[in-house]
Each structure stands twice: as C-alpha cells, then as structure tokens.
Symmetry: C2
Subunit: 435 residues, 2 copies
C-alpha cells in the first residue's frame, strides 16, 4: 500500500471478502485507507466501509468529500446508509444528503432519518420485495428482477393490498415451486408477524427471537408497510445490549473501548469510582458512630472486610438472577410474592451455611474463649445475607419499572450499598450482643 | 384445557403461532400439556416442543412414550431433534432412536450425535439444498421440490462436485432469475466461507457475524460438505454466551435460573461466597498483623471500606475492558506493551483524581490537624488503583491463555483479591508514613 501501486492492490484485493479488507484497513491510517478504496469499485468499497469499526470509519470518512461519501451510500442498503450519515458531523451530513444522485436512495434516507435510532423505524431498511395481492407469480418474479440490485437478501415476499396494507407473505420457496400464472392470492400465507415503527429495538429483537424470524415487516401507525428489519441488525442489537449490560455491571458509565483515549476511559470510569468512595465514606461515618465499641474490641474490626465482601457478593448474585428473569420475560410468570418468598428461603439457607463457616473461622483463629465474636460474626452474616438478597432483588425490579436498565443494579451501586449495609448490621449486632 | 374439550382446543389453537402455544404450555402441568399436544397435529406439535423452555420440556417429555417422542422428532430439523434427544435420560434416548421410523432422520440423528454439542458439528443440521455443479437450474429446482418438506429455509443452494466437495453456492435469487437450462456451473459463486466440524461454536458465531452470513456450510476433515449452520442457532450461542458471562461476573457458578429449586440456586451461589469469605479472612489476618497500628490510630480503620471499595471497583472495570477487547478479537491488534502502558497511564490519572477527593473527604471530616491521615489515604488510593488495574488487566489475559472464560475474572475473584490488596497496601503505607 505504501508504494501506492494501484494495479497491485486491485489484484490482491480481488476475491478477498470485504470484511477482511475492512479488518486490514482498520489498521492503516485514513489517507492510505482512502487510497485503497479509491482503487476498488464503489460496490465493494461500500461494503468495506459498512464493515469498518465505528471509530475508524468516523476518522476515515473525514478524508472524503461529501459527494464521494454519497457515491458509496447509493450502493448500500438504506438502513446502513442512514447509520453512516447519522454518524457524520451535522454539516457534512447535509452536504452528503444533498449530493446523493439517486432520487430513490435520497428519498429513503430522508424518510429513515426521521426515526429514532433505537426503535424499529431506525433499524428497518426500505429494501424489500413487495407484491400486490392481485399479481400472479410471473409479475412477482418481474418485481424481484427489478429489485435485484437493491435487495441483497429476499427471505420472504410481502403481500399487500392496493392501499399498501400488509396482508401476508409468500416464501421464495413457494414462488419457485409455483407456475407462472398462479395468483399470489392463492398461495400467500396470512399468518404474519409484524412490528410497528415506534417499537423499541429490544422488543423487536425479542419478537424475532421468539418466533425465529429472519426478517420482520414494519408497519407505520396507519398499518401501511414501510420497511423490514433483517436478522443481522438484530444480532447487532443483542450484542450491543450484552456489552452495555457488562459495562453497567462493572460500573463503566459510557460506551468506551480499550482503544479509546486515556482521558475518555478515565472519564467513563470515574463517576462510579467516586460514588463508591462517597458510599464507603458513609460506611466510615457509621464506624465512627461505633468508635467506642471498636476501640474496646479491636478484633471486631478484623471481620469488617468479611461482612462487606459477603454483602456485596450476595447482592450482585441476587440482582443478576432477577435481571436474567427480566430479560426472558416469557418465564417471568410466577407471582411476585411467590418469588420473594423463594428468594428469602434461599437467602436463609445460604446465610446459615455461611454463618457456620464464619463461626468456625473465628473460633479457629481466635480460640474457643473468644467464641462470642463467632456468634456476633455468624449472626451478622445471616442478617447481611438476608438484607443484601432483598436489596439485590428489589432494586432491579424498581429500576425496571422506572425504565432504567436494571443491569446497573448489578454493578458498583449494589456493592456500595451492601458494603455499608454490611457494616451497619455487623456493628449494630455487635453492640447488642457484646457486653 | 381442564375440561379436555378436544375440538375446542383444536379450534382455539388454529392459526395461533406455535411459539405462543409453547409459552402457554410452559405454565400448565405435564399431563395437561400432553393432552393439548395430542390434539394438535404432529408438525405443529413438533414446533411447540422445540420452543418450550428446556426445563419444562424435560419434565414434559417424561409423560411421553419413546415412540411418541420419535414421531415428533421426525418432523423437526435434525439439529433440533438431536438437541432434544441429548437432553433425555440415557435409557429413553436409546429407545427413542430405535423407534424413529424414518430411515433418513434416524441416519441424520445418529451422525449428528457423534459431535460434541459445543462445536460446529453439534450445531449443524443435515437439512440443506445441495446441487451438483453439473446440473442445470431445472434439475436444481427439482431437488428443491424434493427437499421442500425437510428444509424450512433455503438461504443458498450449495454447489458440490461429484465427490461432494464444496465448490461454492448459488443464491436462490439467481435461480429464480435464470432460465431452466442455464448450467449451475455458469452461475455459481466460488467465494464461499465455510466452517469445519470441529470448530468451537463461538468461533463459528464470530465468523458468521463478521461476514454477515445467514447460513454457513460445514465441511468435515476430508473437505466434504456434511451440514449447515443457520443464523438462528448462532443467536442462541450469542445469547447463551452473554448469560454465561453475566453469571460468571456475578459469581454464580452453574447455569441456574430464578425458577430452579432453592437448593439448586443456593448450591450455585455458595462456592464464590465461601471463596469471598475465605479471601476476606486473609484480609483479616493482614489487619491482625497491623493490630498495634490499628489500636494506636482507630481513625485508620474507618477508611478500610473506602480502600476495599476502590480496589474492587477499579479491578472490575479494568477486567471488563480487557474482556471486551478479547471478545472483539478483530480490534485486538495493539501490541501488549502499548496497551499495558496505556492502562498504567489511565490508572495513574484515575488514581490521582480519586486521591484528591479522598484527601478532601478526610480533611473535611477529621479536620486539618489530622491531615496526615489524608496523605495516607490518598497515597494508598493511588497505590491500590495502580495495583488493581494491573491485576484486573493481567488476570483475564492469563485466564484466556489457559482457555478459561475470562469473564470469571470480572466477578468475585477480582473483588476478593483487590479487597485484600487494598487492605495490605493501605496498612503498609500507614505503617510507613505515620510516626
């Protein structure tokens, strides 16, 4: 690449999958990457741009003139084109849209840009094969031929009436197997699942997973067919969701990756770290209130980490179990009371086992004459396990009701709360039980 | 259902999606569910069984005779049939296989059972459309017609030579648009990505995601086409992986769900809780070693939770970032040294900010005359942030090298280690700095 040998690049890249070219270009700087793209034809170039990492793509497109970007966009499916436009600086965005030559693409892009990125409207593409219910198979095949350039994968042909209302679908298999003159009306399947433009992307993902769909038609509020969502977009939704959950669980507050700048990473990490510190200051204040007891029995201090660790771990486990159930709403049918009772029993059982172990640890270490500490620590462990389970179960449920991603409750939030809880319960019990 | 009114059930269920029937049956007991299935026809029944929750299905199939199960299996795609067989008790398994009437299904099932569930061979189905390279379009369409009952979704037709070696693929779109007499040889696409039977399921998922594939052909060691993996199976792999990571991150050691028994849940939760307790006992022993200092300056004790919380949170954040990079291997190209240096800079920056805040908290609380504690806590925070970052970064890398899922390192393991680390660093620094 360094030698800018056009024919060499063209030859080497011939037959290489665009996804591999993208991976290669992720590693070189914008100017050189642009050179490679200029050499390739626009169709492959468009695929390469689609597959680039988001960050690389942003830097990379800065090297291009708006009309050059527009040329690539024409080759893409409308949903991918809009994703890329939405990622551009506002000014470039307008210029790019203005320079799209193909009137159909321009119309599609403008329509799709109206929708929020996280809803069905923002996921859907305008490219699909639509047949009128009064057509026959031959007319439908002609339509497929007309659309062949635009629609990469067909999956199903959607059947609409004269008002573009969705009536059903015909599988491509049925079209192949039916004679040219067979009416669509007589072979289409009325049972069809659809989504609506305003639905949340996760709801769409759930529906497509539940019914095992490769593509789902999108209707607008008037019931007209306006686009379709394909399974590859849903995989991205699922993967992004898993990544977001993981980050929330670990207290990273915005979407960062290891190759972001040091400053960006620190900024995403600091909020929860600071909250954790402030939270533990409350723990410190609690300990301050029990200063006398702590002064009298220094041994008490030694078991503070144990109470904190147990509270934190129990809380995270409980919230993860609840979050998991919330994610699979289908098996979320047991009544709330029944589930809370079950959670309490589990907490009691777990707490008892841990308390016995804690008691043994204390007695082995401190000797049988200091058994009273064993009782204090054991009782406190049971109390903390119970409270942390309740907190860990209720917090995600409340967050979910408030439409906040409950994964945040499996993170530093629950650890910090339970750390404090652990200290308070422990010292209160010590205060009660010790002379 | 209670009244066992067969015609009523048949009528109500008519036109209802099997996935919805499954959801309904998840809620009733095995015997009643069986009654509903007996009323429905086998094809729909098979779909309903496929869609059931794994636990419900296991209980449910106990109600059936082996030959009844076999009848449903014949209606399923081979990969789903094998998944269900693998879930049966060993004895029933043999009986079911023996009672499969359809010789083709029996052969497929037996072949697929040889493969490990977690590899490409275990994911693939035998159902696919294969065309010989010497056929023409008409012959291919006849093959599609023959297979129409078995292959639910076609995606692509795979092209093989006389030895069943994979040569390429033809999209179904191209078949529709080509005349009957056109040779497959002249329209097939040689660029085809395949996987091999022994590949790990996650590797297959990565490949299908990277190249945006709906289906991928599977070759055996001899290069012969033996099956194909479809995108819906990959979605399950991705979802399961995300769930497994979440559980590992929260210290739940086996795959449990909220609706498992109290005992199963407790058993899955206890191991990490016990490890956490033992770990914090080490923290306690450390504090024991500094008993004199703690006795002299009780104030020191108050900030132990802060150091523990910071260490734990920093460690989890660092490991999550690394694990995320490990998951997207494609952008994992920066050299190890470069990344470690970056991680250290981030840790220093984060540590400095936190240290300043900690210093302010201490001084505000304890007054300017106890500023020495502010210095101790601040310095300790920097030390802990650095050490926890290093631990959090290196542990997942080592686990990954050892082929252990690194997500485990974002869980109680890192918290416990860093809790102890926090205490040691803090008390050591206090010992050094205080008179």
């Amino acid at each position: 690449i360094a030698r800018e040998d056009a024919s060499f690049i063209r030859e080497t890249m011939d037959g290489v999958n665009p996804a591999d070219i993208s991976q290669l270009l992720d590693e070189v700087d914008g100017e050189r990457a642009k050179y490679v793209l200029d050499v390739l034809n626009n169709e492959i170039g468009a695929e390469v741009i689609e597959e680039l990492e988001e960050d690389t793509r942003r830097d990379f497109l800065e090297e291009f003139e708006p009309h050059e970007i527009a040329e690539y966009l024409v080759e893409m499916e409308s949903d991918d084109a809009v994703d890329i436009i939405n990622d551009l600086p506002v000014k470039t965005r307008e210029q790019v849209i203005a320079s799209i030559n193909d009137p159909e693409t321009a119309a599609h892009v403008q329509e799709l840009m109206r929708y929020d990125e996280d809803c069905a409207g923002g996921l859907m593409a305008k490219e699909m094969i639509v047949a009128n219910i009064n057509w026959n198979v031959k007319e439908t095949i002609e339509e497929i031929r007309r659309q062949v350039e635009n629609v990469e994968r067909i999956y199903s042909v959607y059947v609409v009436d004269d008002n573009y209302k969705l009536k059903g679908r015909v599988s491509i298999k049925k079209i192949i197997l039916s004679g040219d003159r067979v009416k669509i009306q007589s072979i289409y399947d009325e049972d069809i699942i659809h989504v609506e433009t305003y639905m949340d992307e996760e709801e769409v993902a759930d529906i497509m997973q539940k019914y095992d769909l490769d593509a789902v038609p999108v209707l607008n509020l008037q019931g007209k067919l306006v686009g379709r969502i394909t399974i590859d977009d849903i995989i991205d939704v699922i993967t992004d969701q898993a990544e977001e959950d993981r980050q929330l669980m670990s207290g990273i507050s915005s979407d960062v990756e290891e190759d972001d700048t040091i400053w960006a990473i620190s900024k995403a990490r600091l909020p929860w770290l600071i909250i954790g510190m402030v939270g533990s200051t409350l723990g410190a204040l609690t300990m301050g209130a029990f200063e006398q007891e702590l002064d009298k029995y220094v041994t008490l201090v030694f078991f503070i980490p144990m109470l904190m660790a147990t509270g934190g771990n129990v809380g995270i486990q409980s919230s993860t179990l609840i979050i998991q159930s919330l994610a699979n709403r289908s098996n979320f049918e047991e009544s709330l009371t029944k589930r809370l009772i079950k959670m309490l029993f589990t907490a009691v059982l777990t707490g008892l086992v841990l308390a016995v172990i804690a008691f043994i640890i204390v007695v082995v270490w401190k000797g049988a004459d200091q058994m009273q500490f064993g009782f204090v620590v054991g009782t406190a462990i049971i109390g903390v396990t119970l409270l942390a389970s309740i907190m860990g179960t209720i917090t995600p449920l409340i967050l979910d009701k408030l439409d906040v991603n409950p994964a945040i409750a499996s993170g530093p939030f629950i650890t910090t709360t339970n750390d404090i809880l652990g200290i308070v319960v422990y010292l209160a019990i010590a205060n009660l039980l010790l002379p």
